[in-house]
């Protein structure tokens, strides 16, 4: 056992610091878990993928619903679009103050230019009325101003109608 007062008091101080540290880690960890549960309850759906043949542009409309109890903030939305396995376009939008209140849906539209060769392929597939859109992307989101924004990946499929 620590006999001298210096050793005894040093051990007591270190053990007190460790107890406080345990409390602090517990609080940080519990907030960290609820933050990720907030991210997990951010639901995303693809509403529409519309091709404009004149402008050679594709507009992708997505809806995000925050089903957590926390206020979320979307910072960046990145979307890559494939049609029947072929890469068509990609785009990124940045938002300065795009907040998501709990339970409230928001709709975001992202427009992407389609290069010439891919445009011909899209028109061909749309005329035939077949093929499947595959949307892959990431949304950079933070919780209630508490956290650094983190990238959350998503992937959705949508058949051509």
């Amino acid at each position: 056992m620590a006999q001298s007062p210096v050793r005894r008091y040093s051990l007591m101080i270190l053990l007190s610091m460790a107890a406080l540290a345990l409390l602090s880690l517990g609080a940080s960890g519990s907030n960290w878990v609820s933050m990720w549960q907030g991210f997990d309850q951010l639901m995303m759906s693809v509403d529409d993928i519309e091709y404009d043949a004149d402008e050679r542009e594709i507009a992708v409309t997505t809806t995000f619903v925050n089903q957590s109890d926390e206020q979320l903030q979307i910072h960046v939305l990145t979307v890559g679009l494939r049609l029947s396995g072929r890469s068509i376009s990609a785009g990124t939008d940045r938002y300065s103050r795009q907040y998501l209140e709990p339970g409230e849906p928001i709709t975001l539209e992202i427009t992407q230019a389609v290069p010439g060769q891919e445009a011909a392929f899209v028109e061909e597939q749309l005329d035939a009325g077949e093929g499947v859109w595959n949307l892959q992307g990431r949304v950079r989101v933070s919780v209630d101003g508490l956290s650094e924004p983190l990238w959350m990946p998503f992937a959705r499929d949508m058949a051509i109608q």
Partner: protein, 135 residues
Amino acid sequence: MSWRIGEWAIVVIAGGLVAAAVFGLSAEPLAPLGLIDLSFWLAALVILVTGVLASLILVDLRRAFLTAPGIAVLAALFYSATLISPAATLGHYLNHLRNYALIQSVPVVILTLALIALGVLIGTVINSSVREYDL
């Protein structure tokens, strides 16, 4: 287990907890989620003081020095465990969180190792003057 080893283990575990918590309070991403937002310099000072305390408790310089790698590894483990904890309920984020924790562990190990070693040296100087030992 003899008291000498037990004492060393207590110092290492307590030091690891302190270093992990201090990193959690000062470094992203846990800093805004903690009880207080600690500046990096204050965090470094707390880890340094932990090294000094380890030296004052263990007295023997060699035993005190051996706490540095132990505390550094345990700090990284406790810090990583906190970062990975959401995967317990959200298993699909395990890879994402594990990579995140691995990246964050590197500075935790390096900085804790350096600061505890420095603290042990300072503690040895204090030990010598308090106990009138020769260095």
